[in-house]
Amino acid sequence: MIIKLTGGMVYDPANNVNGKALDIYIKNDRIVSKQEVTQVDQEIDLRGKIVMAGAIDIHTHVGGGKNNIARILLPEDHRSDPVAATELTRSGTGRALPSSYVTGYRYAEMGYTSVFEPAVLPVNARQAHMEMGDIPILDKGGYVLMGSDDYFLQMMTAKKDQQAINDYVAWTLNATKGIGVKVVNPGGINAFKFNQRQLDLDENNQFYNVTPRDILSVLAIAVKELGISHPLHVHGCNLGVPGNKDTTLSTIEGIGGLSMHLTHIQFHSYGVEGDFKFSSGATEIAEAINKNKNITVDVGQVMFGQTITASGDSMKQHANHKHASPNKWVCMDIECDAGCGLVPFKYRDQNFVNALQWAIGLETFLLVEDPWRIFLTTDHPNGAPFTSYPHLIRLLMDRSFRNDMLKTIHPEAQKMTTLDTIDREYSLQEIAIMTRAGAAKLVGLENRGHLGVGAWADITVYTPDDNREKMFEKPDYVFKDGELVVRDGEIVHIKWGTTHIVTPEFDSGIEKDLAKYFSRHMTMKMGNFKISNDEITEDGRNTLTVQPTQRGIL
């Protein structure tokens, strides 16, 4: 099957194409050159349309135990958004944490073709993959959460060498089928189990005498030495705490030039100025990001309305439970591995803190200069559900709209932000970098996120509209691996994506000690802990795609 997409205005930053009318040829699942095409089976006239690669969400909570707890916790939220089955699609529910099928449909309907779950607990990885296995259309993958598990912390205390740590990290990635390594409140989830309520960057986990800084450094080196493309994905210390910008700045300084991705940076950019002792640290944080080229960030933008925060950071979620709205919440310690906390939140534009959080996120987007190093997220569902992305894009691309919105929020928050002094408007090319080319590069996906010859044909086509929210919420066409899945913002065909993983090498000799540890201290045998390939592929829908590491494919 050969499809020709004729004359669309193409934004393809990976290939330095910035708004140029081009023809694109799709042969089966890939983009090919004109020379490779003998006859065209279908031609679609895209003159006057805008063409980008399929969008990639690098940080969105779409699979795993905490999501399911969040779903069960809030039936009233689902009731407000029932989704009926059609001839083609399955029923489900939407709102803050949609059901898995609805997650796939709604992402695809917005032009997204890949999503990455950022908090796969190793012991819960099997569930995360099963849930993601029920997300249609999209490619997916997960970052495996490390740094608070007792085996790792024992290695740290015992001062095991970097090679041993590398082997353990690589073993975990293989056993749990991850594509990257995540760390959440480094050592803090563990410390909370010992009743420690606070853990700053240079403070000791009191049981292990290990600091978050030590953990970040060792894991960032492991990621580098294993050749994993995705930098260490860091949810830092002191999430949500006024004054945490200093911790964040120190985290950036202290990593010594190693690649590091700081996630939902908005929640880590707070000062203590002003009458309410809560202020924006976005200017300083953005400056540090601009200066340190080894740092990437996603924003975790807050949008107003009801949502639920779902995090592995049980320490901070427990501290935040007094803000729960509605007033019900869950915290969980999990398997000497990690933990989680679920706290429903209603962000209000007339609440000073919430309003300033909104402004801080936008300041960050606009003050970080390099779109290749900042990514568009709401930390779904923590800042807002992913369905708010088109609105967020409009805020970034349309200064007057942004300033109109600014005038509606809590008046004291308006005084505490520099937002109205920032002229910048994101261009279409910059949006394409943040949500496509840069995202594929950051996750380490080969031949995704661009429209050059050889790329997988994940393609989104929009009708230009001055109202960018309208434009981005309803693409004309979405192709996934060359198949048309969305037409005029509605699902027209179901297919199944792949699961992206990495398989870095390790010394299998470490399994001797691990098997002993599992038998002695865990509640499942090591052999039963490891996820086999057929667990993911045996349903005949899902596949595994091994992305290269710099040391080659195992």
Binding site: N68, R71, A84, A85, S91, Q127, M130, C331, E335, C336
Partner: protein, 418 residues
């Protein structure tokens, strides 16, 4: 004959995976680490393998066609039991979605006691490995723990080397309500559990007083339902003084009206304790796929496993979609019963046409319209099941060649025939 080691079990809820079995053709013997739940469940001989329609043996295609006919003519189908593995539940929800059925897990009336508490105010819980390595005080409320989970103490409490208890220290065990029926709560050193006995129906009051004491409120009675206030004060003090206390209960054992309120008070008590120390709840359950059912429907629909697809989209109601009541009130006109794990878990008898997808070996008082015997996940085919803590999914193995189809396969055939 082959010996299999490290075999995981879907039956006991704690995800035991140290079973050693002998597989000889179609027969299975548990050689080591069995228990009163797992050994009979694994060793049960295969019964029927041929499907039946109205009592007559037929080919599977004919049984599937007959099942589809019943579902097609039904105005409102109830899918009951819902005791299967992850793939079985996926196929079940898909069929329900296409048929507009009500889905109701067999254990939901007991699970509901936990879910209502969770959905009203939330909770703080823990998982088995944390219990195994951290728990210095285990309080068992209203539950004969070893009856519910025969190897709980052996697996998680009487450990040689818990990582975070001081050398030689062992977990203190206190029962509130039911007394233990056996000896497994007695420590290896011979220390017997402390028991504060009371009747089940007194638990709401006793637990409420315990919470009040934890919060430091004054109680003006010297005795609460036969328990000395000083004993309850001591228990409150022990909970406050524990480094990592765990409060456990089995919703199925709290068999009195509005037990969800007692579960809620337990959960709030745990939250209160976490103001200063650490303490966690540990709701038991997870056997025969009840956690699996709730987990799978949660990600496929947003709701736990008592829901209706009658309007074309999922609706959840913990009371309205009670299958037993729907049958009694004649609100459904067909029953599809699914139970892979227990051949004694028979469908409720009634007048509606009944299709049973059940573990081979079911014997019916009243022959259902359609019976399709299926294999058991973890014995006859691979699969996945969720453990009681809802976070750990176990990989179930295929142990023998039985020729029995899986529930997922059968339901998918019926789904396609619709």
């Amino acid at each position: 004959m082959t010996t299999k080691t490290e075999v995981p079990s879907p039956f006991c809820g704690i995800g035991t995976d140290d079973l050693v079995l002998n597989v000889d053709g179609k027969s299975i013997n548990v050689l080591a680490n069995g228990c009163a739940i797992n050994t009979p469940a694994f060793e049960q001989a295969i019964g029927d393998i041929v499907p039946r329609v109205n009592g007559k043996e037929v080919a599977i295609e004919d049984a599937v066609a007959q099942a589809a006919d019943i579902l097609k003519t039904s105005h409102q189908t109830l899918i009951g039991g819902c005791a299967t593995d992850v793939n079985g539940m996926r196929a079940l929800v898909s069929l329900a979605d296409h048929n507009g059925a009500v889905v109701d897990n067999i254990a939901f009336n007991t699970t509901r006691r936990n879910i209502l508490a969770l959905q009203d105010s939330g909770w703080m819980t823990t998982t088995l490995a944390e219990v195994k390595n951290r728990c210095d005080l285990l309080v068992v409320i209203g539950t004969d723990l070893e009856e519910v989970s025969p190897r709980f103490f052996e697996h998680f409490i009487w450990n040689e080397s818990p990582m975070f208890l001081e050398a030689g220290a062992q977990c203190k065990v206190i029962y509130l309500g039911k007394e233990p029926s056996g000896q497994s709560a007695v420590s290896p050193a011979g220390v017997r559990p402390q028991v504060l006995p009371c009747a089940d129906e007194d638990l709401p009051e006793v637990v409420a007083v315990l919470r009040a004491l934890v919060k430091g409120n004054n109680i003006s009675h010297y005795e609460v339902d036969g328990l000395a206030l000083t004993d309850l004060q001591a228990l409150a003090g022990q909970l406050k003084g524990a480094v990592y206390g765990v409060v456990t209960w089995s919703a199925g054992s709290l068999d009195f009206p509005h037990a969800e309120l007692t579960v809620q008070v337990i959960c709030e008590l745990v939250k209160d304790l976490n103001g200063k120390t650490r303490c966690s709840g540990l709701p038991l359950g997870g056997s025969d796929g009840d956690q699996t059912a709730n987990q799978v429907t949660a990600w496929l629909t947003g709701y736990p496993a008592r829901l209706s697809f009658a309007k074309g989209f999922p609706e959840y109601d913990p009371y309205l979609y009670d299958g037993q009541l729907l049958l009694e009130n004649k609100e459904v006109d067909a029953l599809l019963w699914v139970h892979d794990f227990n051949s004694k878990a028979l469908p409720p008898e009634g007048v509606v046409p009944t299709i049973v997808i059940g573990r081979s070996g079911m014997h019916f008082e009243k022959e259902p319209a359609v019976f399709i015997p299926v294999g058991t996940p973890g014995i006859d085919h691979c699969g996945h099941a969720f453990r009681m803590d809802g976070i750990v999914a176990i990989r179930l193995q295929k142990l023998r060649e039985s020729g029995l189809p899986s529930t997922a396969e059968v339901l998918t055939l019926i789904d396609q025939a619709l």
